[in-house]
C-alpha cells in the first residue's frame, strides 16, 4: 500500500497474525484471519469480541482497492456492511495520501465519497427529515433522498470508531442537483455530518477490484 505514513503493525492477541493500522485515526480493527475484534490502545491491541460474518455480496470493492479521487490517491482499509428494511449497502473506510480519512458509500451500484465535517453546527432532528424535503447545511441546499433506520451487519479491516454487529444506526442521505452528497448519521447521541459527492466507480480509476464471475 502506498499510503504508508502511520502504518503500525501489531500481533493479534487471539491468533498471532499481523494486524496493521494504516491510519492513526483507526480505533478498531478486525483480524483478517480469526475475525477477532481488536480495540487499539497506545502500545497494543485488546480483543473485545469476535466480528460477525459478512454477508455475501456482489460488490467489486474489497479491502486493498486503491483509487484516485480529485487527484489524491487513496486506499480502502476498512468496511462496514449495513442493512435496512429493504436492502443493504457498504461503507468503505479509506485513507487518503494527504492524511485525510473518508468514506466510500457503495449501494447497489451507486457510489459516493464523503468526509466527516468537524464542526457541522446545528443539525436537523432525524424525525424532521422527509424524502423530498430540503435541508441547507454549510451553505449548501440539499434535497433529502433517503431516511433509514438501519443496523450494522458486520465489519472488516480497520475502522475509526467502535462498532459491532447489530449496532443500530439512523441515517439520511442528501443530494444536490450537481451531484454533491451528504449523509447525516444519527447513531450516536450527537449527530454527525459527512459531506462529499456522488461518483461513478470508473471515475475513481480503481485498482485491485474483486473479480466476480460474469464480469468482464
Amino acid at each position: 500500500m502506498r499510503s504508508a505514513p502511520g502504518l503500525t503493525a501489531r500481533d493479534c492477541p487471539s491468533c498471532g497474525a499481523p494486524v496493521t493500522f494504516a491510519s492513526a485515526q483507526s480505533l478498531l480493527a478486525v483480524c483478517g484471519y480469526c475475525r477477532a475484534t481488536l480495540l487499539r490502545h497506545d502500545l497494543d491491541v485488546e480483543q473485545i469480541g469476535t466480528m460477525a460474518a459478512l454477508l455475501e455480496d456482489v460488490t467489486p470493492l474489497q479491502l486493498g482497492v486503491e483509487g484516485v479521487w480529485r487527484g489524491t490517491h487513496f486506499a480502502v482499509v476498512g468496511r462496514l456492511q449495513i442493512r435496512w428494511e429493504r436492502g443493504r449497502w457498504n461503507e468503505w473506510y479509506c485513507v487518503f495520501d494527504d492524511g485525510r480519512t473518508g468514506w466510500l458509500g457503495d449501494a447497489a451500484g451507486a457510489y459516493a465519497v464523503s468526509f466527516e465535517v468537524a464542526d457541522p453546527g446545528p443539525l436537523p432532528a432525524f424525525e424532521s427529515l422527509r424524502p423530498g424535503g430540503g435541508v441547507t447545511l454549510q451553505g449548501v441546499a440539499y434535497e433529502v433522498t433517503d431516511v433509514r433506520e438501519a443496523e450494522v451487519v458486520a465489519g472488516e479491516g480497520e475502522l475509526p470508531f467502535r462498532v459491532d454487529a447489530g449496532w443500530k444506526t439512523r441515517t439520511a442521505d442528501l443530494r444536490t442537483a450537481t451531484a454533491r452528497f451528504a449523509t447525516l448519521d444519527y447513531s450516536d447521541a450527537a449527530p454527525r455530518l459527512y459531506a462529499g459527492e456522488a461518483v461513478e466507480l470508473a471515475a475513481l480509476k480503481p485498482r485491485g477490484l474483486r473479480e466476480v464471475e460474469g464480469s468482464r
Binding site: L55, E56, V58, T59, P60, R83, E85, R86, G87, R88, A107, A108, G109, A110, P131, G132, E143, V144, T145, D146, V147, R148, V153, R175, T176, A177, T178, A179, R180, A198, V199, E200, L201, A202, L209, R210, V212, G214, S215, R216
Partner: protein, 397 residues
C-alpha cells in the same frame, strides 16, 4: 431473493433461509421477456439479467402492466431495462439531483425534460435476485419527464426518492444484444421517449425551403433581366359585322429574333356589355407553318341590390409557346354581334409569372408534408400521456 423455480420469496440475509412469502406464480403466469441469467452486450459492457419485475398501474379504470429487467455488471453496476408496448428504455440511477421548477418540467445537466405522466405503480410480480427487498404490492409514485430519447424518472416510495435516467432503445437493439430468438414485441404507438425521426431534420428542411424559394425567385428575376420582352406588334383595327372587309385583317410582317421563346398575345377592346371572338393565326412566312388560337373576350357590368358587379374583362392575354425566330404575319378574324374596336399587342420572350407561382407552390409542398407528419408523430406520442394534444378526438387511454 425469489426462487425462480417455485416462486417462494427467500430472505437471503437470513442464514437459515426462512421462507417469507409464497405466491401462486401459475395463476399470474407473467414470464420475463428476457430469461434470468441471459447475458448480453449493451453500450459497450456485458450485462446479466438478474431480476425481473412487473409493475401495474391503473389509470381511469384501465390497468397497464410494464416490465423491468434488472441488469448487473459487477464493474458497471446496475441498469434497468424497461419495456412497455414494444418500447424499451435502459435506465440507471442519476448521480446528481434533477431540479423541478414546476410540476411540468424537470432540468438535469442543462437539459429540459417535460412531464409526461404520473402514476402510482404497484409491484405485481418479481423474480430474481435484487439488491434490495422487493415485495409484491410495493407501491411507488412514478413521475416521468421526457426529452427524447431520454427520460427522467422520479420514484417516490415511503422512505426514499430515487431519480433515474433512461435512454430509448428499440426492440431490435435489445434482441441483438441478448441474442434472443424470434422477434421483439411489436411496437404500439409512439413511445414516450422515442426519438422523432423528424426532429433532427426540421431545421434543415426550413433552411432548404428558404434556399429553394430564394433560388426560384432568383431564376425568375434572372430571366426577367435577360429576356427580350420586345413588343413586336402593336396595331389596332375596328370590326363591324356589317362591313365584310373587317372580318379578316392582316398585320404588317414582323421579325422574331433570338432563340425559340414565347409570344404574349394581348387583345384590348372597347367592349362593354358585349362579347367578341377572335381567331388569330400566326403565319411563318418562311416555313409556311401556321399557329392558330381562338380567344373570347366578354365584358358585362351592372348594378344590383348588392352594389356594382362586373363579369369578364374587356381584354385578354394568351401565351404562344416556343415560337422560333423568323418572319411572321398575324391574321385576325373577329366575330362579334356588335361593332368593336380592338388593339392587338405581341410581345416576344416574356418569363411567365405563372411558372414562378407553380414552382413556389411545389417547393412548399414537401416541407408542409414533413411538418404535418412530425406533428402527427408528436401527437401520437403525447396521446398516451397526462397531457394529450388537441386535434385528436380527445380520448384518453
Amino acid at each position: 431473493m425469489i426462487c425462480g423455480a417455485c416462486g417462494a420469496q427467500l430472505d437471503a440475509q437470513d442464514p437459515h433461509y426462512r421462507i417469507i412469502e409464497t405466491y401462486e406464480a401459475a395463476t399470474r403466469a407473467v414470464t420475463p421477456t428476457i430469461p434470468l441469467g441471459t447475458r448480453g452486450r449493451l453500450k459497450g459492457e456485458t450485462w446479466e439479467v438478474i431480476g425481473s419485475l412487473a409493475w401495474r398501474t391503473t389509470i381511469e379504470g384501465e390497468t397497464y402492466t410494464w416490465f423491468e429487467h434488472l441488469l448487473h455488471n459487477p464493474a458497471g453496476g446496475f441498469r434497468w431495462l424497461g419495456q412497455y408496448g414494444g418500447h424499451w428504455t435502459l435506465a440507471k440511477p442519476v448521480a446528481g439531483r434533477p431540479s423541478t421548477g414546476t410540476a411540468l418540467e424537470a432540468e438535469y445537466l442543462g437539459e429540459r425534460y417535460r412531464h409526461f405522466q404520473t402514476a402510482t405503480a404497484e409491484l405485481a410480480h418479481v423474480v430474481g435476485e435484487l439488491p434490495w427487498r422487493a415485495r409484491v404490492g410495493d407501491r411507488a409514485v412514478v413521475e416521468d419527464f421526457v426529452n427524447p430519447p431520454l427520460v427522467l424518472c422520479r420514484e417516490t416510495a415511503e422512505d426514499e426518492i430515487t431519480w433515474s435516467i433512461g435512454e430509448y432503445l428499440d426492440g431490435a437493439t435489445v434482441w441483438t444484444a441478448f441474442a434472443l430468438p424470434g422477434a421483439p414485441p411489436e411496437r404500439v404507438g409512439v413511445g414516450a421517449a422515442q426519438p422523432s425521426p423528424f426532429a433532427p431534420h426540421s431545421r434543415t428542411m426550413l433552411l432548404l425551403l428558404a434556399a429553394f424559394l430564394a433560388l426560384a425567385l432568383l431564376i425568375h428575376v434572372g430571366f426577367l433581366m435577360f429576356a427580350q420582352q420586345r413588343l413586336v406588334l402593336d396595331a389596332a383595327w375596328a370590326y363591324d359585322r356589317r362591313a365584310p372587309a373587317t372580318a379578316s385583317v392582316e398585320s404588317a410582317p414582323f421579325e422574331l429574333t433570338g432563340r425559340s421563346s414565347n409570344l404574349v398575345v394581348e387583345i384590348s377592346t372597347t367592349l362593354s356589355q358585349g362579347w367578341a371572338y377572335f381567331t388569330l393565326t400566326l403565319f411563318d412566312e418562311r416555313t409556311g407553318t401556321t399557329r392558330t388560337l381562338g380567344r373570347e373576350v366578354s365584358y358585362y357590368h351592372g348594378r344590383d341590390s348588392d352594389g356594382a358587379w362586373t363579369e369578364g374583362a374587356p381584354w385578354d392575354r394568351a401565351w404562344l409557346p416556343s415560337v422560333p425566330a423568323g418572319r411572321y404575319v398575324l391574321v385576325i378574324e373577329p366575330e362579334a354581334p356588335g361593332p368593336v374596336n380592338y388593339r392587338v399587342r405581341l410581345t416576344r420572350d416574356v418569363p411567365r409569372p405563372l411558372w414562378l407561382w407553380l414552382a413556389l407552390g411545389l417547393l412548399v409542398l414537401p416541407p408542409l408534408v414533413f411538418w404535418w407528419r412530425q406533428w402527427r408523430f408528436e401527437q401520437r406520442r403525447w396521446e398516451e400521456s397526462d397531457h394529450p394534444r388537441s386535434g385528436g378526438d380527445g380520448d384518453d387511454e
